[in-house]
Symmetry: C2
Subunit: 348 residues, 2 copies
DNA sequence: GGTCAATTTGGTAGCGCTACCATTTTTTTG
DNA sequence: CAAAAAAATGGTAGCGCTACCAAATTGACC
């Protein structure tokens, strides 16, 4: 406990490290702390002279602002939690990539959260991350626990839901019409003349967006007067392995299949690679369609026909929507249909 | 501005939302705020009776702690910044995945940062994220700007460097001996009897760990008295496309090549798929080896021989080291060699 | 019952920053 | 050139929580 000459106990930072504070900078530059704050946050409101003095002091002392203190005082941090179901699914990674690059360029940091497709965990995570007073939130899908929705709506800051579209969104959303996308591939397969068409998925019990695509697929086949309930799936999450497994299962149970519509490109790729191994000719013996547009698809033999969804761009767009709201710019729309595109290659 | 009957101005939360605070909970439960804090953070220090009363009040009011305020008061938040060079490289994603799952299970949040392989951006990012008073930091590689190293060392909290090993690490590190791993594959190719062996990479100007692997490869070939300077590379980052491109370039410039050692599995996969297309037999006409152990490798035809590095596990281990330090447990070692394994399959 | 230690609870004082308003200085204008 | 408006600077008071220590309560033991 240090005491100065007058015997008065000096202000000691009673916990934590003794980093340089805004006080120190202010003293060094001969201005008030608030002025230093302004130089850092709203430099246009400070005269050039003082601004330079302060900048000097900042440099000299190696001052790094305590964003926690700033966040507490101004009731907000430049942090954006991004909550996705899983980090082992490439799709989400690519979306996160787009989000992260866009937000980081604007001076925001991404706080990562994953829920393992569990809405309760999502709600709990939401509560937790809101404790960091973030500037906004990005989460996946439109289905959430009632409590989470209520809290987010009451929260009053920008919320973007990704991957999906619908009028029940909390605030803003960016995504695709899953049912339509499923119908799109089904249509393509019908047009190509295939009639015995199956849908193959993995972990669909948890992934309701895949189920929506299946619904679109089903409706389309039904309207065409074709057997529409051929569905094969496995419990495990999507992977090349899972793709191979459902592929083999379908092949065994239903040897007369003419086309397979996979819930995503990972599964489709696993199937194509196994088909190559077994000497099954694609699309000669069997047609294969995917969903996503992974770059792997165009390198396979045969190249994979798929419904391409701009995942990276979806992330960028989600971040842009959020930023627009944060910067007071009103965006054109709160609902952005990022679209999809049928990419016809060799496998159908 | 609200005034009560006595005309005294009520305390209004002069900014931000009027969320439930620890004060409100304390009043509801009839205890002091500090007691509520203890119930939440160190419940074992509070009697069962009060604990239950407080828990009730928390539930009733829907209290969510303000982690920013807590962070300021206790000079630390349960946030761990994870800084990687790029989010478009699968390797880092898988490591992040391991980190994230482990840290989230322990109640920490991952703050994501990417540097695009730019050490200056890394240093700037470091300054910025340290402003959030994180509990620790995870960053990539052992090469950093002097200023960043100095700051992190002075910081005094756990720092883990991943992907690489070496005695110059700031605090702790988890990774592999890149040079050794490169030598391992080179050795394998020599043992298989190949003599005209090339190394093929992408974006190696920025990725010095790939250069280290090449060095290991080079030394090994040199010792064996074999031409060791066959190096092909392209500017663009790794991808299946890049793999195909360097593959074709090498094939053209050096048609008598017997084996190709790729800097990673993405490149090798691109090459194998192109070889299939062109009818080049592997390993008959040409052997191909990779690095990483991506799951894709075992689905290709031929299955890819590679040096497998446990990426997810590296992330888990990095997180564990950090947590051990944070929880006061001293870990066995500050340097963890996560190892690699030669996975011999069909392509060599 | 009284003494001492151990346990449980509370009061006080910040953490480092910025919102808000008051004050000072500069610029504009009749 | 004075008066009004605008711009630049500073003082004060928290933001909501927890570290630190003091006080009150309980239990242990002779």
């Amino acid at each position: 406990m240090t005491t100065n000459k007058a015997g008065i106990r000096e202000r000691r930072r009673h916990r934590g490290d003794n980093r340089v504070t805004i006080q120190d900078v202010a003293k060094q530059a001969g201005v008030a702390p608030i002025t230093v704050s302004r130089v850092l946050n709203t430099p246009e409101k400070v005269s050039v002279k003082l601004r330079e003095r302060v900048d000097h002091a900042v440099q000299a002392l190696g001052y790094v602002p305590n964003l926690i203190a700033g966040g507490l005082a101004s009731a907000g941090t430049r942090v954006i939690p991004v909550v996705v179901p899983s980090l082992s699914i490439l799709t989400f990674i690519e979306v996160i990539h787009g989000i992260q690059e866009t937000l980081e360029a604007a001076g925001y940091q991404v706080l990562l959260g994953s829920t393992d497709f569990d809405l309760d965990r999502e709600a709990a995570l939401m509560d937790s991350v809101l404790g960091y007073s973030p500037s906004g939130v990005i989460l996946t899908g439109l289905q959430h626990r009632e409590s989470a929705v209520r809290r987010l709506k009451a929260w009053g800051r920008p919320v973007v839901e990704i991957m999906e579209l619908g009028d029940t969104c909390i605030d803003m959303c960016v995504g695709v019409q899953n049912a339509e996308a499923g119908a799109c591939m089904a249509n393509h397969l019908l047009e190509r003349g295939y009639r015995r068409i199956a849908f193959l998925g993995a972990g669909m019990a948890r992934d309701y967006r895949a189920r929506q695509r299946f619904e679109g697929h089903r409706e389309t086949l039904k309207s065409a007067g074709v057997e529409c309930d051929l569905l094969f799936q496995c419990e495990e999450p999507s992977s090349y392995d899972a793709g191979r497994n459902v592929f083999l299962e379908a092949l065994e149970k239903c040897p007369d299949l003419e086309a397979m519509h996979f819930a995503n490109d990972n599964l489709a790729a696993g199937a194509i690679m196994e088909a190559n191994r077994q000497g099954i000719r694609i699309p000669g013996d069997l047609a294969i369609g995917g969903y996503l547009g992974l770059s792997l698809g165009e390198h396979l033999s045969p190249r994979l026909t798929t419904v391409t969804v701009p995942r990276y761009e979806m992330g960028v767009e989600a971040a842009r929507l959020l930023l627009a709201r944060l910067e007071g710019r009103s965006s054109l729309s709160d609902q952005v249909d990022i679209g999809y595109e049928l990419t016809v290659r060799e496998s159908t």
